[in-house]
């Protein structure tokens, strides 16, 4: 789905625009948008696309949301995020020429409960350590070991490579893979409901 955005260059942020120039944008994104990722992914998955395409879709939604936020931060963010996601999916269906009436009506019906308040922040905070721990448990054992040695024990890459008998290059591979999987576990796969933890 690399052609995802081609029909809608403005919204897609085709116009080159740096991301870092806007102060506070990162903090806003991390604090306000990322916690909605699990719900967003649940929504996007209804399109029946594969994981690769879902990652592209998510990127596209984030791009549009952040581009908009550069001008004016949408408040509240949740309905805005889902409107963007819905429009994007409708665009895509049109483009794919899949006249998926069911899907579209499904989407409309889905007019997802956008006014539902987000997860209770205190509840999220409360279970933060538990959640991190659960996410770590999900990692492949070697990958988890490397991440713990680095992040908790504070060993350097060369110390880790010696201790585990693997090359530093492999350490790097585990770390980069680890952060990728953790991000998915902590955001995309996190429970979308408002279970307090």
């Amino acid at each position: 789905m690399r052609e995802t955005s081609e029909t809608n260059p403005e919204a897609a942020g085709l116009v080159p625009g740096g991301g870092v120039a806007v102060p506070g944008l990162e903090a806003w994104f991390v604090n306000e948008v990322l916690p909605l990722e699990a719900a967003l992914m649940q929504f996007l998955r209804r399109s029946g696309r594969n994981a690769h395409d879902l990652a592209d879709l998510r990127q596209e939604v984030y791009l549009r949301v952040c581009e908009a936020a550069k001008h004016q931060v949408p408040r509240p963010v949740r309905p805005f995020l889902f409107t963007v996601a819905r429009n994007l999916m409708i665009d895509q269906m049109r483009r794919d020429q899949v006249i998926a009436i069911d899907a579209v009506s499904d989407l409309e019906a889905l007019n997802i409960a956008t006014d539902v308040p987000g997860p209770d922040r205190n509840a999220m905070a409360r279970s933060e350590l538990r959640r991190l721990q659960a996410a770590l448990d999900e990692l492949p054992p070697r990958c988890r070991e490397v991440l713990i040695l680095r992040r908790i024990d504070g060993l350097s890459r060369s110390e880790i490579s010696q201790r585990m008998g693997i090359t530093e290059k492999t350490v790097t591979q585990y770390l980069t893979h680890g952060v990728h999987v953790l991000a998915n576990l902590l955001y995309a796969e996190a429970e979308a409901s408002r279970r307090p933890g």
Partner: protein
């Protein structure tokens, strides 16, 4: 679709892979201003780059909070694998010079008549006995053992201890606590005692508790796994708790306190058993509930988590840490 159009956008996965490499590179000790400039340039190339980087970086930063936990706690998946307790055990065992079994059925518990053990606030100790039994002393605890031929007797004078007893019907293992008597019938159990009450929680096997004759009528109960007996000067009661709750309460065996829907006030009281540096929770913050696993002897780490995750105020006035909204 033309190739030109296809070139425009790298897949989200490609971008994320590069972002992960940047996070790895930045985490290295040789990260320099030049590298930062290159990263900034890459981020400025496209909002997509920034977003992917922010997202992974947020996950990476979150793992920092894990550092509050002691090494080993996370690694095992279970708090009771004890891998990191073992060196302490070996030390203790070596230092204790615990006695011997003699031949011919004569059974010496310890070589000398009496041994005392004490821990101060924030420390633990494991006492390994020659018969294979083991006693772990929690914070601020004193106990002494007596060994007369054919008997195994322990007095828990104060504090808390966890007993894993090798059962031997011919040589009963007896714990005296606050005048009550607990007799092992093949068991793992913990006992905690303070001025007001004594609590015996049984996790495995069974044990008999005989409450002191005194204010209460002498009485004997047999405890089964999950049973928690609470004896005060006036009464004794037995309740059943789910084993996972009991295991949470035994988190101290791994050096941690495990909270599950625990109020901040209770959590502080538990921490205060382990440290001279006391936690005080003021006002409505006391009723906040928390979950999680914390190093038992790191009051400051807990205060900092309350501050940064629960968004409370923590101020250290020297003798104590006061937490409030």
């Amino acid at each position: 679709m033309s190739d030109a159009k296809k070139i425009r956008i790298a897949s989200a996965e490609d971008v994320e892979e590069i972002a992960a490499l940047w996070i790895d590179r930045r985490d290295r000790s040789d990260w320099a201003a030049q590298d930062q400039a290159e990263l900034d340039a890459w981020l400025a190339q496209s909002m997509t780059h920034s977003i992917a980087f922010w997202r992974l970086n947020a996950a990476w930063q979150r793992t920092e909070r894990l550092a509050a936990l002691q090494p080993g706690v996370l690694r095992s998946g279970s708090f009771f694998s004890r891998e990191w307790v073992r060196p302490a055990l070996a030390r203790t065992a070596a230092a204790l010079a615990i006695a011997a079994m003699l031949g011919g059925g004569a059974y010496y518990f310890l070589e000398s008549a009496q041994h005392s053990y004490a821990t101060t606030a924030g420390t633990r100790e494991i006492v390994s006995l020659s018969d294979g039994s083991q006693i772990e002393l929690n914070t601020d605890t004193t106990l002494h053992l007596s060994a007369t031929l054919g008997e195994r007797t322990v007095w828990l004078d104060r504090g808390e201890a966890y007993f894993q007893i090798k059962h031997d019907a011919a040589h009963p293992f007896i714990v005296f606590v606050a005048g009550h008597r607990v007799t092992d019938l093949g068991t793992k159990f913990s006992i905690r005692t303070d001025a007001q009450r004594t609590e015996v929680a049984l996790t495995e096997g069974s044990a008999r508790l005989e409450v002191t004759p005194g204010a209460v009528k002498a009485r004997s109960v047999t405890l089964k796994p999950g049973d928690v007996a609470v004896a005060t000067a006036q009464s004794v009661s037995v309740t059943k708790k789910p084993l996972h709750r009991l295991n949470n309460e035994l988190g101290w065996l791994g050096g941690v306190l495990i909270f599950d829907n625990t109020t901040l006030a209770d959590a502080a009281a538990q921490f205060n058993r382990y440290s001279q540096h006391k936690l005080v929770v003021e006002g409505s913050a006391a009723n906040l509930k928390i979950d999680g696993t914390f190093p038992a002897n790191d009051t400051a780490a807990f205060a900092s988590i309350a501050e940064h995750i629960l968004h409370l105020h923590a101020r250290n006035n020297g003798s104590e840490i006061v937490i409030s909204r």
